[in-house]
């Protein structure tokens, strides 16, 4: 499930559990970039943000590295810190902007908070992610593609707590027009500690969690260690462990159709490993909004060509199909489908983009 329940710490406390991060040019205003971070999988009606957590969106300017095969990430960063206070009847939120200004807003108010070049929403919304989770697990357990023509969406009718930030990127962000985006939860206080971080979807769950193919660290629950890393500066301590796990698991997925589309290099490295290890969304704000452009920029880099779309990630994209097709046949074969093609409610193309929350009893597919 995208990044839902992605490690022991997230399982223990859903209020820190980032389910997804999205980044896309605004469908209704090309000058704006939209960033979304969702937390709290399976949020019931009374779910609230923690008052002891910083919900952070980090944005850095990014370009294609001189080698043409990877990204060069700028050191300068635009950070948006969201904190919440109070409980019932309504929480109040504060967003600290990169220039030091603070915007106030109230939970679930659709117009949200505004400042020059910015609009913010936070509140309960329908979870836009969809997949057949049990069949994804069965695929790994049986080492065979287990998806059915019509799958069952474990997240159907579920809600999350969403944070939506619409930015006039040219005036608010540093650099551009291509950006790297990461969402984080950190414990508040004098010395914030990173609890979770998410860039790309399904890295920790589908891509990293299976241990059985990893001959180097077969017993290691790697996800909490991975969560603690700075996405823009992965420590050397565990980089080898992440590489080993990614190489093993990506090779497993590649082999699911009985042929090799991603030949490993002489040292056993999968061609996607380094790219995925740089775990952030890559979005080009100068390109028009696109509904299906996840990983386009990365693919262009891999293929040594100039990208044509905005990349990033839109709310309604059938991410699991895109990802499985990428992993299994590198896009050279038929599209791999998980049998779930839509969420319970489509997201909107106007602010705050995410569909309103579902009633609790709607949670059956």
């Amino acid at each position: 499930m995208s990044d839902h329940i992605s490690g022991p710490r997230a399982i223990a406390d859903p209020v820190i559990d980032i389910t997804d991060v999205y980044a896309f040019p605004s469908p209704e205003s090309p000058n704006h970039l939209v960033l979304i971070m969702n937390v709290f999988p399976y949020a019931g009606p009374s779910a609230l943000f923690s008052d002891a957590v910083i919900y952070r969106l980090r944005v850095r300017s990014i370009s294609i590295a001189p080698d043409g095969r990877s990204f060069a990430v700028a050191a300068d960063e635009s950070t948006f810190d969201f904190i919440f206070s109070g409980s019932q009847p309504s929480q109040e939120g504060h967003c600290a902007l990169p220039n030091g200004d603070v915007i106030k807003f109230r939970l679930n108010e659709e117009s949200g908070g505004t400042a020059k070049g910015l609009q913010i929403f936070a509140g309960q919304r329908s979870d836009p992610f969809f997949l057949d989770g049990p069949m994804a697990e069965k695929t790994i357990a049986t080492r065979q593609i287990a998806f059915k023509e019509v799958g069952s969406d474990r997240l159907y009718g579920k809600n999350v707590l969403g944070i939506v930030l619409r930015i006039e990127w040219a005036t608010v962000l540093k650099g551009g027009p291509m950006f790297a985006v990461v969402g984080e939860t950190l414990s508040a206080g004098k010395r914030p500690v990173r609890l979770e971080r998410v860039g790309r979807p399904e890295i920790k769950n589908i891509t990293l969690s299976a241990k059985i193919f990893d001959t180097v660290n077969r017993d290691l629950e790697i996800r909490d260690i991975y969560n603690e890393e700075d996405a823009f500066n992965v420590s050397k301590n565990y980089a080898g462990a992440y590489r080993a796990r990614l190489n093993a698991n990506l090779a497993f997925f590649d082999g699911l159709d009985g042929k090799v589309d991603w030949p490993l290099d002489p040292r056993g490295n999968h061609p996607l490993t380094e790219l995925l290890l740089a775990d952030f969304l890559v979005v080009d704000a100068s390109k028009p909004f696109s509904e299906t452009s996840y990983f386009d920029i990365e693919r262009a880099v891999l293929e040594g060509r100039t990208h044509a779309t905005c990349g990033g990630r839109w709310l309604n994209e059938d991410l699991v199909d895109t990802l499985l097709t990428l992993y299994v046949n590198a896009g050279k074969g038929p599209r791999i489908r998980d049998g779930v093609d839509a969420p319970i409610a489509w997201s909107l193309k106007v602010f705050p983009y995410m569909a309103p929350p579902n009633r609790p009893e709607a949670g059956k597919s």
């Binding site: 709290f40 949020a43 779910a47």
Partner: protein, 352 residues
């Protein structure tokens, strides 16, 4: 004292626990939900029951786990879920049998031994529990493993070891939920109370309640400590609110006892009746789980030594702990005192 990391406000934490339960409950009720969802829901509901002192929550968790085992009897996680709810109702032998079975069905040894250690502790088999708990903490000194040792040392009255492990476990805590730390403070409070160090007990129970204001057992024990320290009005006020909100008769029983002690007989009688009726109901449904507390009630405010003795014997059969032995000794003494008073009454006719 170490730096306190910021924690989620206890009211928000409890609302979020409700939110998790409310999101999963329709899925489980309508069915079919996965084993993971159902066992996860049972665990969340049992946790809420523990925090707010709600026996109906334990019943619901048990119902989910029982149904789960009926539906998938060979799933180790279903058996694990039922082992936990069985242990919650003090059906320790059934719980151990479920764990044994789950392990044969490939439940990992670390999880199985963690569950066994908790049951051994509840049964008073402290040495066996300690071996398993220490092994786990040696393998991985996580918050959960070290916190489990705090509870064990506290129950054994090992003050130095408890305090050391308490500090160690707090330093290992990486989360923002206040609930695990409130549970830890509660363990410490119980130890101080059992050791007669009432000021320390009050500090620990207060800490637990500050973290999670709705933490009913912390409030209940805090009232006991306050009453012992002569702060009767505060104790009564606290217990009033707990006795009204909780379906656990312990609060009504404590309230009846304290009201009686201060001469508020009429009010005491009302709460005594409330507690007596509820204990009878609970003993009929879950005798093993409530024998100890019911025996304590009948020994004190309930004033029925025969009933207390019968329940204290049953409790000792369930678990041979120092507390169970002490309870039986008190019940024997009370029953014997009551019998001799009755004999005396028979020999010497009442005046007038």
């Amino acid at each position: 004292m170490m730096d306190e990391r910021p924690l989620t406000d206890g009211t928000i934490a409890l609302l979020n626990l409700d939110a998790q339960i409310d999101a999963l409950e329709p899925e489980v009720r309508i069915g079919p939900a996965s084993v993971e969802t159902r066992s996860g829901l049972a665990e969340l509901i049992a946790l809420r029951g523990l925090i707010v002192g709600c026996i109906a929550d334990y019943d619901r968790a048990n119902e989910i786990a029982e149904q789960l085992v009926r539906d998938v009897p060979t799933d180790p996680h279903a058996l694990l879920a039922r082992a936990r709810t069985h242990a919650g109702f003090h059906r320790f032998n059934d719980a151990l049998a479920d764990i044994e079975c789950a392990e044969q069905l490939s439940l990992d040894a670390e999880t199985a031994n963690g569950e066994r250690a908790a049951i051994f502790q509840a049964l008073g088999r402290y040495d066996e529990s300690l071996v398993l708990r220490e092994e786990a903490a040696k393998r991985r000194a996580s918050f959960e493993h070290v916190a489990a040792l705090v509870g064990l040392h506290a129950e054994r009255g090992e003050i130095e070891a408890t305090e050391r492990r308490y500090e160690e476990s707090r330093s290992q805590y990486r989360g923002v939920s206040p609930i695990p730390l409130a549970l830890l403070d509660f363990q410490l409070g119980l130890m101080w109370m059992n050791e007669g160090q009432l000021d320390n007990a009050r500090t620990s129970f207060n800490a637990a309640q500050r973290r999670v204001p709705a933490y009913a057992p912390a409030g209940g024990h805090l009232s006991e400590v306050e009453a012992e320290l002569g702060e009767v009005d505060s104790a009564i006020s606290r217990l009033h609110s707990l006795a009204e909100s909780s379906d656990d008769p312990d609060y009504a029983a404590q309230l009846a006892r304290i009201l009686w002690d201060v001469g508020r007989d009429w009010e005491s009688r009302y709460w005594r009746q409330v507690a007596a009726a509820r204990y009878d109901e609970l003993i009929a449904n879950h005798p093993e789980a409530f024998a100890d507390h019911a025996a304590e009630f009948w020994l004190a405010a309930g004033a029925d030594p025969d009933k207390a003795l019968q329940l204290a014997k049953m409790n000792l059969e369930v678990r041979n702990t120092p507390r169970a032995r002490s309870l039986l000794a008190q019940a024997v003494a009370a029953q014997s005192a009551s019998s001799s008073a009755e004999c005396h009454e028979n020999v010497v006719p009442p005046c007038g």
